[in-house]
């Protein structure tokens, strides 16, 4: 071997969209007593790229080519505990499947403390038609999209004092985006609650912009009426010391369409867990995510699409870049296609781009399929390194090193940025990504 090896730093191996006609057999051979279904021994081993690869060995990509589900019916994602009551959830030890990646020591007590600090201040900019309300805990819209699925979310639910409800009325087609800015009020652990409702046939873009310094557990409920078409963008651009847990639960009405985009850039620990559920047939959900972790940051995203209705479509794509010592990212993508969800078409993919040594990206797709009568279900996961070979190729074409790096990262993340469809935010994010890169240059 003399030259550069061809580096599989991409999804070439991985973008097979597994089309499955029948559910595969759940793993029967796992050892151990209580492996959760989401962690069968073989299939969900995280894909890490933490090894300091040799300059010519830029191969950190791995493919999941199996397309089958491996749910165990009575301990599947469907069976996970949900409750409004904090006490119903056992204390978090950190070894649970849901928590095994999260650095609980740096979690600001979101899982243990009474969340009675001041909640981030909420300011809403919205077109006239939109109703913006601040309501008490008893408001009927609270709890309309979902029930907490973990202790941290339940903790916020137990402690929030008031909620912000943003309603796009039936049939309204907004020209302008709704901008909800949540500004952290400091480091006292706090709880937050936001409800976004797009009534029947409404069409809108809602941006949740998280800025400032905060230690906060947040519940976001997103409700789409029949035929609604909603885009929600959740931006995490917190200060370096901030800690944020955000459970974002979505309920999608008949023939409604949600585009949900999570962008996590700032914060010490950010853990966003979007869950999408269909209330009726014909819905479509796109869950997109973009994250850029630099030295010491932990950015975790766990998506869940619960197909409990027939003829719905879901597409998940999360892309992340990592740069600097102990930059850490986690993506876990659960898709559950229930027995009655015939005609489902679902796909999920995660790609990570590791820019320097000392980073670690975990990527775990989980697909549980309980019916064979589906259009498709597939997943892919790839973690690649931007290595010396890529750099050499670009520089050999006259492109200086910093430009080359930018070119690759921008290109990689642009796929998500382009989906936002709000030029001002797209520009803002392009700049934010440039800043992240520049920060890593020094």
């Amino acid at each position: 071997m003399t030259e550069m090896t061809e580096t599989p730093l991409n999804e070439t191996l991985l973008n097979e969209k597994a089309r499955i006609g029948a559910p595969s057999i759940p793993g029967l051979t796992e050892e151990g007593e209580s492996l959760t279904p989401l962690e069968p021994a073989e299939t969900t081993r995280p894909q890490s790229a933490s090894a300091p690869a040799s300059p010519l060995g830029g191969d950190a990509a791995k493919g999941h080519s199996h397309g089958g589900g491996y749910g165990i019916p009575d301990s599947s994602r469907a069976g996970r505990l949900t409750s409004y009551t904090l006490e119903d959830f056992p204390a978090i030890r950190g070894t649970e499947e849901e928590w095994r990646f999260t650095p609980l020591k740096r979690f600001g007590g979101l899982h243990t403390a009474a969340l009675d600090g001041a909640a981030p201040a909420v300011a809403v900019e919205a077109p006239e038609q939109v109703r913006v309300e601040t309501v008490g805990r008893e408001d009927s819209r609270i709890g309309s999209a979902g029930i907490p699925e973990d202790r941290v979310s339940a903790n916020a639910w137990s402690h929030f004092a008031e909620a912000t409800v943003v309603t796009v009325p039936a049939g309204a087609e907004l020209e302008d985006r709704v901008l909800v800015t949540l500004t952290g009020a400091g480091k006292a652990a706090a709880a937050q609650h936001v409800v976004v409702v797009a009534e029947d046939g409404a069409r809108a873009v809602v941006v949740l912009n998280h800025v400032g310094e905060a230690v906060v557990s947040e519940n976001v409920e997103i409700v789409l009426g029949d035929g609604a078409d909603l885009t929600v963008v959740s931006l995490q651009e917190w200060s370096d010391a901030s800690v944020h847990a955000s459970s974002q639960q979505v309920k999608i009405g008949r023939d409604a369409h949600l585009k949900h985009i999570v962008v996590s850039l700032g914060g010490s620990v950010v853990r966003v867990t979007p869950t999408a559920r269909f209330a009726a047939p014909g819905g479509e959900v796109e869950l997109y995510g973009l994250y850029f972790a630099d030295a010491g940051q932990h950015l975790e995203h766990r998506t869940f699409v619960d197909h409990a209705q027939p003829n719905c479509v879901s597409n998940v794509l999360y892309k992340g870049a990592l740069q600097g010592k102990d930059a850490r990212t986690v993506w876990v993508g659960d898709v559950l296609i229930q027995k009655q969800a015939e005609g489902t078409d679902s796909y999920e993919k995660n790609q990570n781009l590791v820019l320097t040594d000392g980073c670690r990206a975990d990527s775990v797709p989980n697909l549980e399929i309980e019916t064979g009568l589906i259009e498709g279900a597939g997943h892919a996961s790839a973690t690649g390194r931007f290595d010396d070979q890529h750099l050499f190729y670009l520089m050999a074409r006259g492109i200086p090193e910093d430009v080359a790096r930018r070119l690759v990262v921008r290109g990689f993340l642009n796929e998500i940025i382009q989906k936002i469809g709000v030029p001002a935010i797209e520009e803002h994010l392009t700049e934010a990504v440039e800043r992240e890169l520049a920060a890593g240059d020094n």
Partner: protein, 256 residues
């Protein structure tokens, strides 16, 4: 008129077993308008020469010099060399995730020329060059080399050659893995670039087939890190008939 001058070049690499000398004194001068073919057995150091000219960090020059019109090439970074007019068509082009061909070509052209190409003519030029090399228009929107077949990657290297207009092109086995039609298309590309009159070429190959389309002025035989013999085009034919046995027996260390 430009001159690329390689003098007594010694190159080694670090391996797990220690430092290994690969080039053991290579001297070669290429001038604008000339085509030099370099042939030689596997492992004799041809790609090492190509990569060293381009400045791959893996290779350390321990002795000798490379100059471009008197300028010290070894002092230049990889990107500076490219901007000075050196181009390497790689034996194994790398796949670049997330960067479309369009974006890549424009960025590189801008870097090489020091200014952005006029958008209208550039788009036209790219399209025309792609047509001539029979590269599908939809490649423009694909990521650089990602999922391209071996032959497609080679065409795309020549596409860059035609668009970037280097002073010297080093083609490392651009003909390997090409079918007959592709070989012809690619050779025509090189010849077009040559016909503009501002380029010298160093063509590394194992086969005389390509030399039927691209006529070399000189042929150099590489064996064990040295030029074992040089001559005119007729030398290539002789190699085709006789192989490298003659040289290898003498050199001892070269691998087949």
């Amino acid at each position: 008129m430009s001159t690329l001058e390689i003098k007594d070049l010694h190159v080694s690499i670090e391996t797990e077993q220690g430092v290994k000398e690969i080039l053991k004194g290579v001297t070669l001068t290429v001038k604008t308008g000339e085509t030099h073919a370099i042939m030689g057995p596997n492992g004799s150091g041809k790609s090492t020469l190509a990569s060293t000219i381009a400045g791959h960090p893996r290779y350390t020059v321990t002795k000798g010099s490379i100059t471009l019109d008197g300028e010290d090439v070894l002092e230049m970074s990889v990107d500076e060399r490219a901007r000075a007019g050196l181009f390497l068509a790689m034996q194994y082009p790398v796949e670049i995730p997330g960067v479309t061909m369009t974006n890549f070509l424009r960025t590189a052209k801008t870097a090489i020329d020091g200014k952005a190409p006029a958008l209208r003519t550039w788009t036209k030029d790219v399209k025309a060059a792609m047509d001539q090399l029979r590269i599908d228009a939809d490649f423009a929107q694909r990521n650089v080399n990602e999922g391209f077949s071996g032959g497609e990657k080679k065409r795309v290297e020549i596409l860059q050659l035609e668009l970037f207009k280097p002073k010297f092109a080093v083609l490392d086995e651009t003909d390997s893995g090409l079918d007959v039609d592709a070989l012809k298309v690619v050779s025509e590309g090189v010849n077009r670039a040559h016909a503009e009159g501002n380029m010298g070429t160093l063509l590394i190959t194992h086969y005389t087939r390509i030399l039927r389309y691209i006529k070399p002025d000189f042929v150099h035989v590489f064996v064990d890190g040295r030029i074992a013999e040089q001559g005119g085009p007729e030398l290539a034919d002789r190699l085709e008939d006789e192989g490298y046995d003659r040289y290898v027996a003498g050199a001892g260390a070269a691998k087949a």
